[in-house]
């Protein structure tokens, strides 16, 4: 499977009369966006705004972040099984509006967190302080069920990102990168001397506000399976996950999965990257047993020498992570796991909820309990209800001048467990 990613660099975003991309600037017509979002009968109102890197803006609570992309010259489309027909993606050509993102916000339940600060201390911890963001604050009708509410806001983001992606059809890319993974047997013949590596990606799949969708299928109902890495780049995996802001994977993270990209960088020189195994993180322990058996079985079946395992979320998934690691190691396959830590504010507590000596190679996205001080911003997109009243009470506090002292766990993507950031933690 071969995919050409064609980056169109977006360096600015503005409102305009016509939605279009000109000179690296994304112009957005509010009306276009509004009518698209309001197609959904559940949505009562959408506030559309723009947040650029360096601006004194705070977006909260963030539900999802999506990168605008479009497939060109293809009969398949972005986000198959959800807004495009359910055909296998990952081949052909895809335009990427690099440097831009659609950010959805809105109160689904009262305890949502998720901060993106576009400047200041908080900006250092989230990748989305560096993107030109189109922000959609969605309000639904009062009596809506939480399940429908989550779905409406999720689809609003996907639809708008798709619409913006389509604006790039016909544009010449600024840079092009080709990613190719051959069918397994050919791949192995091509680089017979290189160690074979697969990527085991764990997907959040526990229930309401904790879901991930694969080709439109709720991930808690999948059994582990194999994807070509390029499928992820075309929106095969979508986030429906609204809890644990610091270590949830947004759709943007799935589209730009850094383990996939970094494995491709060494593919053919130091390693032979054969593919992605996806698995879930269910609540039912029997599901954990089955899924971890299957990841180990698939890794063995692929004949790999090593795997990277990435996690998503807090607590329960620690058990899946350790089970995957243990069972794959028991097959004689080397593992490295990527996780994050809840070691307490002083860093003195046991960071993980599960442990095993076989997990001897660990990469950490940092301690999510560590405090960070966020100065007030001139403008807030969304609402501060959670931060002021709830996150303050749970995980931090708010001073009179509006300065928030809060745990890193409130910041979107701060301790990401696919290894998206440079943040790590060490012993002192």
């Amino acid at each position: 499977m071969r995919l050409e990613l064609r980056d169109i660099l977006i360096k600015n975003i503005q409102f305009g009369d016509v939605s279009e991309i000109k000179n690296h600037t994304l112009y957005v017509n509010r009306q276009d966006i509004e009518s698209l979002v309001m197609e959904d009968e559940h949505i009562k109102e959408v506030l559309i705004d723009i947040a650029r890197p360096g601006e004194e803006v705070r977006i909260t609570p963030v539900k999802d972040v999506i990168e605008p992309r479009v497939k060109i010259d293809s009969d398949t489309g972005m986000f198959p099984g959800v807004i495009s027909k359910v055909r296998t993606v990952g081949t052909g050509k895809t335009n990427v509006l690099k440097g831009s993102a659609v950010v959805t916000s809105g109160r689904i339940v009262g305890f949502q967190e998720g901060i993106i600060d576009m400047t200041g201390e908080g900006a250092k911890y989230t990748p989305f302080s560096e993107t030109n963001n189109l922000v959609l604050v969605c309000h639904c009708h009062d009596q809506i069920k939480a399940q429908d509410h989550e779905k409406s806001v999720r689809l609003a983001g996907i639809k708008v990102a798709n619409f913006i992606g389509e604006l790039s059809i016909g544009l010449e890319p600024d840079q092009v990168a080709v990613y190719e993974t051959l069918p397994l047997l050919q791949n192995i013949l091509k680089y017979p001397d290189l160690p074979k590596v697969a990527y085991v990606q764990m997907l959040q799949s526990q229930g309401l506000l904790h879901d991930t969708h694969v080709y439109g299928v709720d991930a808690k109902n999948i059994i582990p399976t194999i994807l070509y890495p390029t499928e992820l780049m075309d929106g095969a995996i979508m986030s429906g996950n609204c809890v644990s802001a610091c270590d949830k994977n947004t759709t943007y993270h799935h589209q730009n999965n850094c383990v996939v990209h970094d494995l491709y960088k060494k593919h053919g020189t130091e390693i032979n990257f054969v593919g992605v195994i996806i698995t879930n993180e269910n609540v039912y322990l029997a599901d954990k047993e089955r899924s971890s058996d299957w990841t180990a079985k698939l890794a063995e079946f692929l004949g790999v020498d090593g795997v990277i395992i990435s996690q998503e979320g807090f607590g329960n998934p620690d058990t899946d992570l350790i089970m995957n690691c243990k069972k794959i190691e028991e097959k004689g396959i080397d593992t490295v796991i990527i996780t994050d830590e809840y070691a307490g504010r002083d860093g003195a507590s046991q960071p993980l909820a599960d442990a095993d000596e076989k997990a001897n190679a660990v990469v950490t996205g940092g301690n999510a309990n560590e405090l960070v001080i966020l100065k007030p911003m001139k403008k807030v997109m969304g609402h501060m209800e959670f931060i002021d009243k709830i996150a303050g009470g749970f995980n931090g506090n708010v001073a009179e001048d509006g300065t928030i002292t809060i745990e890193l766990q409130a910041i979107i993507g701060a301790t990401n467990e696919i290894g998206f950031n440079k943040l790590s933690a060490r012993d002192y």
């Binding site: 490295v336 442990a355 190679a361 696919i418 290894g419 012993d427």
Partner: protein, 349 residues
């Protein structure tokens, strides 16, 4: 610039007063630097001055902790120092505990920055590494020069409120705190580099070491207890009244082997605990509460166990180093086997 004032704590041995026979030496403040303090003073140079040295016997400190602490805190307060340095204690267990305890008390009660130095296996390490910086030393005074160099360098940084770098960079023992930092590469890149090293069997460094436990796989269950000879081994400090072997109340350097062939029941007339880490009242009243001799005698009589071995083994687990505990266990195990003991009841407190 005025020199920083430093107070140094050492034991009776390093003060040249004497060895174990002088370990009950009461706290004493001496003006200026003494013993290893002279080398500290040389290393501090013009930047800091050791204004006083406090000497205290190791036994005195460990057996009269509250009193020793209070007396010494008073002495330190009078000097109003900017820094308190204790030791280094290397692998000396009671000295390590004294250094750690007084240094962390000075820091907590007087707000004076404090540090010490010791060997990784010193029982003082686990007790005090979270409260104060402990420079890592080798296990004997052969390492004195090197230890002083690092302690002075870290001490000066504390005095000047400079940023304290990682344990590797500064030479202190890991304190058990996780702290965030920005690495050079993103996590996925670091993970792949680590995997490549692991697959090549090259050394690699995990970013988080899983907690390790010294796991012992249990032996198969005993089929017939009525034919089994059982012994008791305890870290609960039970000893014949009077503690004939002087087993230390903490950081034990020895264990005892005691005859119970004549006892059906332990009482406050004949047994007690030497343990200093828990309220001894109930153990002293009836030591069967820690080692169930009475119940085992009953079972012996009823034929439910073969026999109770004539001796029990005891030490205090309180602050005793893992290395010491392992050494005791190896000797005890050998003795048990040579006496045909088939099963052991281990009790702790």
């Amino acid at each position: 610039m005025a020199k920083f004032k430093v107070v140094h704590y050492i034991n009776q041995f390093y003060a040249g007063i004497g060895g174990e026979e002088k370990a009950d030496h009461m706290p004493e403040a001496i003006k200026g630097a003494v013993g290893p303090g002279l080398a500290f003073q040389a290393a501090f140079g013009e930047q800091a001055e050791i204004v006083a040295t406090i000497v205290c016997g190791d036994s005195f400190y460990n057996e009269n902790m509250e009193k020793a602490r209070e007396t010494i805190l008073g002495m330190v307060k009078q000097c109003s120092p900017d820094l308190f340095v204790a030791g280094p204690a290397f692998n000396a267990g009671r000295y390590g505990v004294a250094c750690g305890d007084i240094a962390s008390s000075v820091q907590n009660s007087l707000g004076v920055k404090a540090l010490s130095g010791m060997y990784l296996e010193n029982p003082g390490v686990d007790l005090y590494k979270k409260s104060i910086y402990l420079i890592e030393t080798k296990n004997s005074a052969v390492d004195m020069r090197n230890a002083i160099k690092k302690m002075v360098s870290l001490g000066l940084k504390l005095l000047k409120s400079e940023e304290i770098l990682t344990p590797q960079e500064e030479g202190y023992l890991k304190r058990g705190f996780r702290k965030n930092y920005f690495a050079d590469k993103r996590g996925s890149h670091r993970a792949i580099d680590m995997l490549i090293q692991k697959m090549k069997k090259d050394p690699f460094t995990t970013e988080f070491a899983m907690p390790t436990f010294d796991r012992v796989n249990p032996n198969p269950a005993i089929k017939d207890m009525s034919q089994t000879k059982i012994a008791i081994v305890t870290s609960g400090g039970i000893v014949p009244k009077g503690n004939p072997d002087h087993i230390e109340s903490s950081s034990a350097s020895k264990y005892g082997k005691y005859d119970i062939s004549k006892f059906r029941d332990l009482t406050d007339q004949d047994h007690e605990t030497a343990h200093g880490g828990y309220d001894p009242t109930f153990a002293n009243l009836d030591s069967d509460r820690v080692i169930p001799v009475d119940v085992l005698r009953d079972m012996e009589k009823e034929g439910r166990i073969g026999e109770l071995f004539n001796f029990f083994y005891a030490t205090t687990g309180n602050g005793t180093s893992v290395a010491n505990a392992k050494a005791f266990a190896a000797e005890i195990a050998k003795d048990l086997i040579s006496n045909d003991v088939q099963a052991v009841i281990l009790t702790s407190t």
